[in-house]
């Protein structure tokens, strides 16, 4: 690629928050017509850097040069005025308004200065959409269109405001693989049209796929800017984490034994009393990892809650290690040998105001040796916690530390330590790596495989298709409360993705 002119330059950006140096002397530049990826773990300072650029924060030090002019961004308005548009991770759209109304918001065309000219709005939105080749209906309401389309509306909004620099903050986090592919096609079209794009992500494969250049941030500092051509996932991962990381989970073939979790025609209602899980049947055998893939909101959460006693079962039954525990309640299900890594560790997984020792005893505080005749033995709690914290390499505190003062990765290690430490027969892991960085993800993945190899039955429920594919020995796809497909570990993302959108041909209710 020839050296295009630089459209944006950030020099020596430093941003300090109480207790954290979020950006430390970061340099960043963007050339005309390129996709420049900003790669880093959670908390590496990517979002802070872009928020500085977009005028949401003001840098403590450093300068921003846009189109050769030194500028000061005091608010997003300044940034928009300089041709910078941002698509946030969480969309800033008004659900009850139409696409066109959302796009022209704050810059509405008016007649006679005061009257809203919706026809003109629609026309100019249509024109913008046509120019950039977007397939979108300006009259559709936001609440009625898909997440992928909503994202396109956000991009259109930026284009409508004459942005020529576009910031996308983790744009694929909310998309299915197919939608991500479509997004990439759109981005390529925009770049060909002369747009310059900053693409924030922590996913290595998509960065390699879409970016021309990659800048890696780690703990607030710029580590390196390198061309995407020639870069490898392993190389980027070690730049991100600062050490060698195992990306692909190393595991041998599964050696399934007897079924430990048996689910039979299970039906579960959601909070609105509507069927969320509709007659699901499957088994998880000892020594295998069964992954449940699916787009968010297709009944996975309700399924996990039912299996762990947190939600009532409407129909059907399930058993853990041969014991029917359909209506047994959480306490007895756990006693039957189920471990549960919950999808929300802050709400469920931990009592944040408890110490780590108390948290680790959450299931078995009422059993010897943790207690006897109702008397708690804090010394035992601490001793046991000390063992497990060492074994699971939890850093940032000891048994007497409050759970809320640990980092997310270490909190999750505490949860895993407790659930695995209780020696369960069945381990249900729901979104076990959500919000974790590469190092902690590696740890959790390795541990899940180890537990499988020790003969536990592992049920993995995740919205990260890649995670399901790389860990699972069998993959079940859940769509609208039903299991619509079953695959072996060799399935491709595309096949699986199609089934996740309800396009599966095999109506397999897995054995």
């Amino acid at each position: 690629m020839s050296e295009s002119p630089v459209v944006l330059e950030m020099k020596g950006i430093t941003k300090q928050f109480p207790g954290v140096l979020a950006n430390d002397d970061v340099d960043f530049d963007l050339r005309h017509g390129e996709v420049h990826a900003l790669l880093g773990e959670n908390g590496a300072g990517k979002s802070t850097l872009m928020s500085v650029l977009y005028g949401l924060y003001h840098q403590d030090e450093g300068e921003i040069v846009v189109h050769g002019e030194r500028v000061r961004m005091d608010s997003p308005k300044d940034a928009i005025g300089r041709g910078i548009g941002m698509v946030h991770q969480h969309f800033m759209l008004i659900p009850v308004m139409t696409v066109a109304e959302n796009i022209v918001l704050a810059e509405e065309p008016t007649r006679a200065g005061v009257f809203l000219d919706l026809a003109a709005a629609r026309r100019s939105v249509e024109e913008t959409a046509r120019r950039f080749n977007f397939a979108i209906d300006p009259e559709a309401r936001i609440e009625n269109i898909s997440v992928g389309q909503q994202q396109r509306v956000e991009i259109l909004k930026a284009l409508y405001r004459k942005a020529d620099i576009l910031i996308l903050d983790e744009p694929t986090a909310v998309l299915t693989p197919q939608e991500a592919k479509e997004l990439f096609a759109i981005l390529r079209g925009l770049v060909a049209d002369g747009m310059s794009i900053i693409f924030i992500s922590h996913k290595l494969n998509e960065v390699l796929e879409i970016a021309d250049r990659i800048t890696v941030l780690r703990r607030g500092k710029k580590i390196e800017t390198l061309p995407a051509a020639g870069a490898t996932e392993a190389g980027l991962a070690s730049l991100m984490v600062g050490r060698e990381v195992l990306l692909r989970v190393e595991k041998g073939p599964a050696q399934p034994g007897e079924p430990l979790l048996e689910v039979d025609e299970l039906g579960v209602l959601d909070d609105r009393e509507l069927p969320a899980v509709r007659g699901v049947t499957f088994q998880v055998r000892s020594g295998e990892i069964v992954g449940i893939a699916g787009v968010d909101g297709n009944g996975q959460t309700e399924l996990v809650e039912a299996l762990t006693g947190l939600r009532g079962v409407e129909s059907g039954r399930f058993s853990v290690a041969g014991r029917d525990v359909t209506h047994a309640g959480t306490h007895r299900i756990l006693d039957a040998g189920l471990g549960h890594i919950p999808e929300d560790r802050h709400r469920r997984g931990l009592v944040l105001d408890f110490t780590l020792a108390e948290n680790i005893a959450l299931h078995d505080f009422d059993r010897a040796p943790n207690s006897r005749f109702g008397w708690l033995r804090p010394g035992r709690l601490v001793a046991r916690a000390r063992e497990l914290l060492a074994e699971f390499d939890v850093r940032g505190g000891g048994p007497e530390t409050l759970a809320k003062s640990l980092s997310g990765g270490n909190q999750q290690k505490v949860v895993v330590a407790r659930e695995v430490g209780n020696d369960p027969k069945v381990l249900v892991a729901a979104q076990p790596t959500r919000g974790l960085d590469v190092g902690a993800i590696e740890f959790v993945h390795r541990r899940l495989v180890e537990e499988r190899d020790q003969g536990r039955a592992v049920l993995l429920v995740s919205l990260e298709l890649e995670e399901v594919l790389s860990l699972s020995d069998r993959i079940l796809v859940m769509y609208e409360g039903e299991l619509v497909a079953e695959f072996g570990p060799e399935v491709t993302e595309e096949e699986c993705g199609i089934a996740m959108l309800g396009g599966g041909q095999e109506e397999a209710s897995a054995a």
Binding site: L21, R219, V351, E358, L362, L376
Partner: protein, 420 residues
């Protein structure tokens, strides 16, 4: 006063995870002790300004309250004799146990006894995430049953009679609070609403029972709207002071025992573990297999035990009867809320906060304030209420104070790069 600044050079490889955790833990520890003290001091300071505005001298007033509460007794050291309780023997003792200030101190400690129990009633529920506004009603119910048992069964063995009356009162309080607990556990009815309603039910039930023509009205004085007297055998023995002049009764040891029991239950039993888990995070508790509903009920019932015992020690210790106007003017259960809040729902905190409020309440009693301090004696009682209200106000504010403190602490704790 703030935590030691830990300065990280900008190039520090890790922005101090360990020290952040340490700072937080330190903040919790010191905040637990420092904040209530600051709260109380601020309340007394502003209360002093109020006194100043009314034209009196705050220093004289606070000295008057201090002495009226009997606290001067502690530094009036000399060579005295003290009689051992329940015997004729005497031993040497540094303090004069029968001075006027000793009598004041006895009154303060009598009030302390009740406030500890009503304070624990609020604190225990709080640890389970429940706001028990019903201490007053549970106190009433405990008092009614204590009066009923204490004024019946004349001639029963004294120790047995007292025990029976206290136990029945405690169970009655537990049942009364348990109603709110069951409603919360089964239907989700908010305990604030249901306990307030139960307070009124208990209130009017008492007015009916002991009022003119009520079923439990005094047998001997048909025109006095009051209960029967607790018989001698059911009265708590006085171990300090003159029993005829309302000396300090043995109920004080019950309050001590309740503080110890509270601490043990909360910190050393599986029940306390469950209660705290539910109090901090019902979702996490449920996930851990703990029955949230069961703990809501148990926490309320145990709260009711404390409040019911408060009613019992008052009736058996120094009131000996309850009348129409006693019920109308009682607010000791509500003061318990202030005690629990100032004491941050811990055993030690409740013990100390009860002492503050007991001294304040007794020290501002009109009879204890020298006439030259206030022209109008009622002003003293109003000052007591003013300070109570200020304490409550500043307890709300201490969260803000701690928050600001934490923020500035963090600013100090961060190394800023030199602007040059």
């Amino acid at each position: 006063m703030t935590t030691a600044p830990t300065v990280h050079p900008p190039a520090a490889p890790d922005p101090g995870e360990e020290s952040a955790a340490g700072t937080l833990a330190r903040w919790h520890r010191t905040g637990g002790l420092v904040a209530p003290v600051i709260t109380a001091l601020l309340a007394f300071l502003v209360g002093g300004l109020v006194v100043l505005a009314t034209g009196s001298n705050p220093i004289d007033v606070y000295k008057g309250i201090w002495n009226g509460a009997g606290l001067e007794w502690f530094y009036d050291v000399g060579s005295n004799q003290v009689g051992l309780p329940f015997s004729d023997a005497t031993v040497w003792f540094p303090w004069d146990t029968s001075s006027a200030s000793a009598e004041n101190l006895q009154q303060t400690l009598i009030l302390w006894t009740t406030l500890v129990l009503t304070g624990l009633a609020v604190a225990f529920a709080f640890r389970c995430g429940l706001f028990n506004i019903g201490g007053q009603g549970q106190y009433f119910v405990g008092a009614y049953f204590a009066i009923w048992v204490g004024s019946s069964f004349a001639g029963m063995n004294s120790a047995l009679h007292i025990t029976l009356a206290v136990v029945v009162a405690a169970l009655a309080g537990a049942a009364w609070a348990g109603i709110a607990g069951i409603l919360k556990a089964t239907t989700g009815a908010h305990e604030v609403i249901s306990t307030i309603m139960l307070n009124w039910i208990a209130y009017y039930t008492g007015l009916y029972l002991f009022g003119q023509g009520g079923p439990l009205q005094n047998d001997l004085q048909p025109f006095s709207p009051t209960s029967n007297e607790v018989v001698d055998g059911a009265r708590l023995p006085v171990f300090w002071g003159d029993p005829l002049l309302q000396g300090l009764h043995m109920g004080m040891f019950l309050a001590f025992a309740a503080l110890v029991a509270f601490w043990i239950i909360i910190n050393r039993t599986t029940l306390g573990y469950e209660v705290r888990a539910v109090g901090f995070s019902p979702d996490a508790a449920r996930y851990g297999g703990i029955s949230v509903a069961r703990n809501y009920f148990l926490a309320m019932a145990i709260s009711g035990v404390f409040a019911g015992m408060a009613g019992a020690v008052d009736m058996l210790g120094w009131r000996f009867s309850i009348g129409f106007s006693d019920i109308q003017s009682s607010s000791i259960g509500f003061v318990g809320i202030a005690v629990a809040l100032l004491g941050r729902n811990t055993a030690l905190g409740v013990g100390l906060a009860a002492l503050v409020f007991a001294a304040l309440g007794n020290g501002t009693a009109a009879r204890n304030i020298p006439p030259e301090v206030f022209d109008i004696p009622e002003q003293a009682g109003n000052l007591s209420l003013t300070i109570q209200a200020l304490v409550l106000l500043f307890i709300g504010a201490d969260i803000v104070i701690l928050y600001l403190w934490a923020k500035t602490g963090q600013k100090i704790g961060v190394g800023r790069r030199s602007p040059l």
